[in-house]
């Protein structure tokens, strides 16, 4: 098998830089627009929402909207990055042969983790009061008017030092395992032999145990605590499944683009078929989790639980209702019906359409997880949203493609490479 080196044209990397620049411009334009419009328009709504919110929040301004969007995109792209690492580990532990052609794409996805981790820390430290109600110190002072016995009861877990420790430890662990696995993978390319493969399996097995805990807890920390009073035991899986489908779609989309650009000669319709099955299956899995969470809360109708869905279906004059139905269509009905046949999973154009739809659908899924808690009825789709998305997408694509180009696209000494070449479904 011959090495394949991806060379990124100057034009392409400039395009990513342009994306970042355009994103920044949009953000600034969006901030100015929101600044001026919240003066008279947002005022009435803001008071209304503030009165409705527990703990007496301040009015929603452009600051809230900015930080919510930064947080949303960062959490979304960190998820895709860590799924790259997770899926690599799964392939090792399963002794999988089919996935060898896409292995380097998965590894490259994780390149965003260090930048994402630093941004996560910065956004939290700067914008915590805009994002997380529980960071308000007055909630925990007994004689204060804001005293909240429920949140005070959660304080042993939900306090800022412990939260920051968890954030650093989780991201740190992911970066460490990514570095460790990537090292084995690159050394295997140079030296060959089975030693690196066996070591990778052991590392992967440890990582999967670590990931089981850290992925769940990061989903609580980074997404669920935005709605500080609300909790769901299923939420971690729900976030994971959303990340997973997005990560699979990103992998498939990259594989198709590389194939169409003349790279990845090993990859054929059989590998795409398997990726298509993964996207199809885990879209159903996501729906299953969404519905499992929804139905129990809807049926039991306990106020402290159902408030989450009340907010999203009926709250703020149905502000989020179309998103809820929208994500069910984009993330379930669409991939389910389109990817059902064998032919669709083997055709690049079909997979491409589904991947793009699903990537947007899961971004929207995170939008509806985060925005009602931080912006209440004041969220929207404008320059800030587009700008933040472009900014993070540009950064993600830059580090992703850079790592993709830093090693052979085909892991030349992988013991299952030959099997992958003859993969047939």
């Amino acid at each position: 098998m011959i090495e394949e080196r991806l060379s990124i044209a100057k034009r392409t990397s400039n395009r990513f830089l342009f994306m970042i620049g355009l994103g920044l411009v949009f953000l600034i334009v969006g901030i100015f627009i929101t600044m001026n419009s919240t003066g008279h328009h947002g005022g009435g709504h803001g008071e209304e929402a503030a009165a409705a919110a527990e703990g007496g929040h301040h009015a929603i301004t452009w600051v809230n909207r900015l930080f919510s969007n930064l947080w949303l995109n960062n959490v979304y792209f960190i998820g895709i990055a860590v799924i790259g690492l997770f899926f690599t580990a799964v392939q090792y532990v399963a002794y999988a042969g089919w996935s060898v052609p896409i292995k380097r794409i998965l590894e490259a996805l994780a390149a965003y983790l260090p930048i994402g981790g630093i941004l996560l820390l910065i956004i939290f430290l700067v914008g915590k009061h805009q994002l997380f109600h529980w960071t308000d110190e007055t909630l925990y002072i007994k004689d204060n008017a804001n005293y909240d016995p429920i949140l005070a009861g959660k304080q042993s877990f939900l306090n800022q030092p412990f939260y920051l420790i968890r954030m650093v430890v989780f991201i740190g662990a992911w970066i460490f395992f990514d570095w460790w696995l990537r090292k084995q993978s690159l050394n295997e390319d140079l030296n060959g032999g089975l030693e690196y493969y066996h070591k990778s399996i052991r590392i992967s097995a440890i990582f999967l145990v670590v990931f089981g805990v850290t992925s769940s807890m990061s989903a609580w920390d980074w997404v669920m605590t935005i709605d500080s009073h609300w909790f769901s035991t299923l939420f971690a899986w729900y976030v994971f499944s959303s990340w997973f489908v997005a990560g699979l779609a990103a992998t498939t989309l990259t594989a198709i683009y590389l194939k169409q650009a003349g790279y990845l000669k090993v990859l054929n319709a059989n590998h795409l078929h398997d990726l298509g099955k993964f996207i199809f299956g885990f879209s159903i899995f996501w729906t299953y989790l969404w519905f499992s969470q929804f139905m129990l809360y809807w049926y039991a109708n306990l106020p402290e639980e159902v408030v989450y869905f009340q907010e999203r279906f009926h709250g703020y004059d149905g502000h989020y209702a179309w998103i809820i139905f929208g994500i069910l269509f984009l993330n379930f009905a669409f991939p389910f019906l389109v990817l059902m046949t064998r032919d669709a999973k083997r055709q690049m154009i079909m997979l491409k359409i589904v991947c793009i739809v699903v990537l947007f659908g899961h971004w929207l899924d995170f939008y509806q997880m985060i925005m009602p808690g931080t912006l209440r009825g004041e969220s929207g789709f404008g320059f800030i949203e587009l700008g933040a998305l472009l900014l993070f997408l540009g950064v993600f694509l830059t580090v992703f493609t850079r790592r993709l180009a830093s090693a052979s696209l085909v892991p030349v000494n992988h013991p299952f490479l030959e099997e992958a070449v003859h993969h047939h479904v």
Binding site: W298, R342, H424
Partner: protein
């Protein structure tokens, strides 16, 4: 073991049933077999079927077997199951015997989804299995002619039907041997 002549195994069953004669090419290697299938089909010979001890990757395409249309049937069974489940629940709980359960509306669609899902799966699974059994002709006491028992062990048997007056047996014999058959036999099957 190389026999130049065809071994004739005549089954002297004389009943009023139709007898069919097959030429059997015996192959030892999977890759040789796959190439043989391509060449023999390219030579214009119709292969009745190939018996193999295990599933051979790519043999369906080589033999030109069309993909099963069972998935289409499955989709339709699924739709039937879904429609039936929704109709049943809406009719029963909405019209025939309305009850208030948990303060929910009579026709509470979220509560119907688990049952709808189960019935969709049930209809699809049973429909597929029954359809498969019928179209494959798999019913109790089915007799399947065994062309060569070694196809259950380590040999691949390629069967080609002999049409009286049309098939040139000698030519077929050499075609099979040229394409790597280690033996060529003849067998009559009573249907």
């Amino acid at each position: 073991m190389r026999q130049k002549q065809c071994t004739h195994i005549h089954q002297t069953i004389k009943r009023t049933m139709t007898n069919k004669k097959y030429i059997l090419g015996v192959y030892e290697d999977e890759d040789v077999l796959l190439h043989a299938i391509e060449n023999i089909r390219a030579a214009g010979t119709k292969i009745y079927t190939v018996f193999s001890p295990y599933p051979v990757h790519g043999i369906d395409d080589a033999l030109g077997i069309e993909r099963s249309r069972l998935p289409i049937a499955a989709f339709l069974y699924g739709l039937t199951g879904l429609s039936f489940a929704l109709w049943m629940q809406i009719y029963m709980l909405g019209f025939d015997w309305p009850m208030i359960i948990g303060g929910k509306p009579h026709i509470a669609l979220p509560a119907f989804i688990p049952v709808s899902f189960e019935l969709t799966v049930l209809f699809t699974a049973h429909g597929m299995v029954i359809t498969f059994l019928i179209i494959s002709g798999l019913y109790p006491k089915l007799k399947v002619p065994v062309m060569d028992v070694r196809s259950t062990d380590d040999k691949f048997i390629m069967a080609i039907e002999v049409k009286e007056g049309v098939t040139d047996v000698n030519k077929l014999n050499s075609l099979l041997r040229d394409n790597g058959a280690i033996e060529v036999n003849e067998k009559e099957v009573t249907k």
